[in-house]
């Protein structure tokens, strides 16, 4: 069992609190994404879980056993975890085969078993023809596979991934996303995946944890986070929604609405009742859609329309806000855009 429990976790570097009271339970076998902008503390949180960093307060338990608390940290090598680093961290002086087999040799397994298990994992990750090569002789995607194979060959209970796809080009990134999910489903270890890319998070995770300034803003499924953001930060960071002032039961309450959920029409009365008049400030043609920035009541509103809706900048438009698409937000913390 590798249920991962974080309780009141705090980490400071110098005077800066990087991780600020994180409580989170990750069930055994789950795939969790820590999503947030750079500097939000997600990498530090991952390094706390790995045991490279000691917490200043709080504790971490794996399968009910405490592994991290201030002043007592089980070292990384005794945690039964594996990690994929952003740099891949392949050892340049070892071949693919030696890199992949390292964790098994450290565990003092007999040589023929090492060979057998390395061969099996290399087959699963399509590395067989490359076993005798050195990392510098591999492409980025191949290096990524070696990093995966090296992490998985030891059959970890927990796999940690730190922005593993940020060094790959767009096509490969998409392919590896599914590969990472496929391997997770095949081996059923607990996965903690750190990224700043919301589409990566949505494509892979069971549970997305949005982090901001060292705190959890919202935790939920991709659908939850996207459709029902609980804060202005989440609304803006995940998919870039509008956060606008509104009224709910007579009280001033900000609300969020997706770009594609706003109805934009060029003539009054053609759209929903209660439409707001505005002026087009900017218009961008994106092929499958058009992106507008409209000024209405002193607010700049971003709207996405089908490509056939074509209004010149400076022309008036009417914006409709379907109430079922507007999500009230209780408070407006600073940050994000």
């Amino acid at each position: 069992m590798a249920t991962l429990e974080l309780h009141g976790l705090v980490k400071r570097f110098g005077g800066v609190t990087v991780v600020d009271g994180i409580d989170l339970t990750i069930p055994d076998g789950a795939f969790v994404c820590l999503l947030g902008p750079s500097g939000c503390g997600k990498t530090t949180l991952l390094r706390l879980i790995a045991g490279f960093v000691a917490p200043d307060a709080g504790e971490i338990a794996v399968g009910g056993k405490r592994v991290s608390a201030p002043g007592s940290v089980v070292p990384p090598e005794r945690r039964g975890m594996s990690m994929i680093f952003q740099s891949y961290a392949l050892w340049p002086h070892m071949t693919v085969e030696q890199n992949v087999g390292y964790g098994l040799r450290v565990r003092n397994l007999p040589a023929d078993e090492v060979r057998r298990r390395v061969a099996t994992i290399c087959a699963a990750t399509q590395l067989e023809p490359l076993m005798k090569r050195y990392p510098s002789e591999l492409s980025g995607g191949q290096q990524q596979r070696v990093a995966l194979a090296r992490a998985l060959v030891v059959e970890p209970q927990t796999l940690l991934l730190d922005e593993p796809l940020s060094n790959l080009d767009a096509n490969l990134r998409e392919e590896m996303r599914f590969e990472i999910r496929r391997l997770h489903d095949e081996f059923r270890y607990t996965t903690v995946y750190v990224t700043h890319d919301q589409s990566e998070a949505m494509a892979t995770a069971d549970l997305i944890v949005v982090l901001n300034a060292g705190r959890i803003e919202q935790a939920g499924t991709a659908e939850d986070i996207y459709r029902r953001p609980s804060s202005a930060f989440v609304a803006r960071f995940v998919g870039g929604a509008n956060v606008l002032p509104g009224r709910l039961a007579g009280l001033a309450t900000p609300f969020s609405i997706r770009l594609e959920d706003i109805e934009l029409v060029a003539a009054p009365g053609a759209g929903a009742a209660g439409a707001v008049r505005g002026t087009v400030v900017r218009r961008v043609f994106l092929g499958s859609s058009r992106d507008y920035v409209v000024e209405a009541d002193g607010e700049l509103v971003r709207v996405t329309t089908p490509p056939h809706v074509d209004v010149q900048p400076g022309e008036p438009v009417w914006l409709g806000f379907p109430p079922e698409r507007c999500h009230p937000i209780e408070s407006v913390p600073a940050g994000g855009s």
Binding site: P75, E77, S87, P92, H93, Q143
Partner: protein, 563 residues
Amino acid sequence: MTRGSPRDFSRALFGAAALVLLAMVALPVGWLVATSLSGPHGPTLENYVTLFTDPTLVQPFIITLESSAAVAILCVLVAVPMGWCVARTNMPLRRLVRVLVMASLVTPPFLGAIAWELLAAPNTGFLNQLARVAFHLDRAVHPFNIYTVAGLTFVNFLYTFPYAFTFVANALERVPADLEDASAILGARSAQTLWRITLPLILPAILAGGLIAFLQSMTVFGSAAILTLPAGFHTMTTRIWSLFQFPPKPALAAAASMPILLLTLLLLRAQQLILGRKGYVVVGGKGARRAIVALGKWKWLALGFCALVLLNAIVLPYGALLDAAFVKVAPAVPTPANLTWSHLHFVFFELDATPVALWNTMILALGAATIGTALALVVGYLVARRAVRGWQLLGFLATAPLAIPSIVLGVGLFLAYTRPPLLLFGTLWIMLIAFVTIEFPAAYQQLVSVTSSIHPELEEAGRLLGATRLRVLREITSPLMRSGLVATWCFVFIGAIREISAAILLFTAPTRTIAVVIYDLNESGDTGSIAVLGLLLMVVTFTVLAVANRVPIAVTAVEEFRE
């Protein structure tokens, strides 16, 4: 970032390394300060009063400053055009020029000075003899005289300009062509671009090079001792040395060390400020290419200029040494009649000092290189990985010896280890401590950069797969550092076999080194033996350098570190 558990062995290592470094720096400097303030009847400022009033102490100070300033200016005037020609033009033989500049960098100034004695001593100097024959001059006339302040300045310039050259050439190589193209596209001619864009960009490097040249010639002992003593004047370093001659005045010597120490601190601080100005230093990106200027027919003039400098720094001096080693009475044009093996035979089979000095030099160089590299590895690793609290303190202590000129360190060590409980004077230990201290900062800086080039994630990946910290160090870190370690070891070794500034104050007859023997022989005028020993020193140096160069220093780190 602090890593590892509290009971990690890195704590103990940190404590040990910090203590060693502290002792290395604080002990000699502490005794220096204390002694300079002491008199026969308790604490006094008398030594400092003497320092500023006695003309025999003030005069060397002025000579040194004047000569060093002249060296710095000469170095900049020569290093900038030469660096530009080598780094940014299509001048022929650029590689050879660079190699020869490096050869003059590793030539000990005292050896250069001895060679220039052979070339330009007033009466016997080869160039003077040549001039008399060529222009039918009288025997009493000597166009060249190396035993002057000008002569000392010239020799110091020849063996310090490589520092300025390296700064300038490296900076020029890092100026991205884009910056110059941007100027050209706006209509600037290439001379204008050079003057208004390129030179201002490398100005910090030029200034830093000049400062280093000043510092080097201010603190040099070997060349100064060889050229000033026959001429009957002193520089600061030779004056300090003379205070140790009978009757010794260590308290005055300690006081006389203070101005050099303070000036060195000041100049190093100035250099840091110049090089540290952000936005001014050019950092070339990965794809930054540099533009090569086609010189046309001017390239021969450029080559001629470089050749003239290297003729004086390398060709003539080494020619003179070779000549002295193999002709009966140097300097003389070698003919089959006056060639001889007698100097070689004398040095290796008759001179009593040779076996002792050879043995001492080898032991000291091997010891200093091994101990220095090992200590630098521990400290460099702890600092580069920020593996312990207080790593900044370690880094400071490790570079502190840079600010202590060798001769000042020699005075400090003499004072620290001529009294109980550490009676090390007269043993090889005190020389070993001196050599390790002198070479340590460079070794440390090299190993910090080697460690930094190894991505920490490479080690962390090993930890997570179940290897302990020690096992990771053994199986992952050390193999990746091997070439860097070998190179560092070689550089400390070379530094140690040529050291004279501190050794001259610390040696006794049984602990003589080759460099000390060469210096002694120079006083007795035995040029043949000096040449043989000097060339031997250089053969060893170049052999070790060749080994070091065969090992690629670059370590392949997979990607650059993000954090």
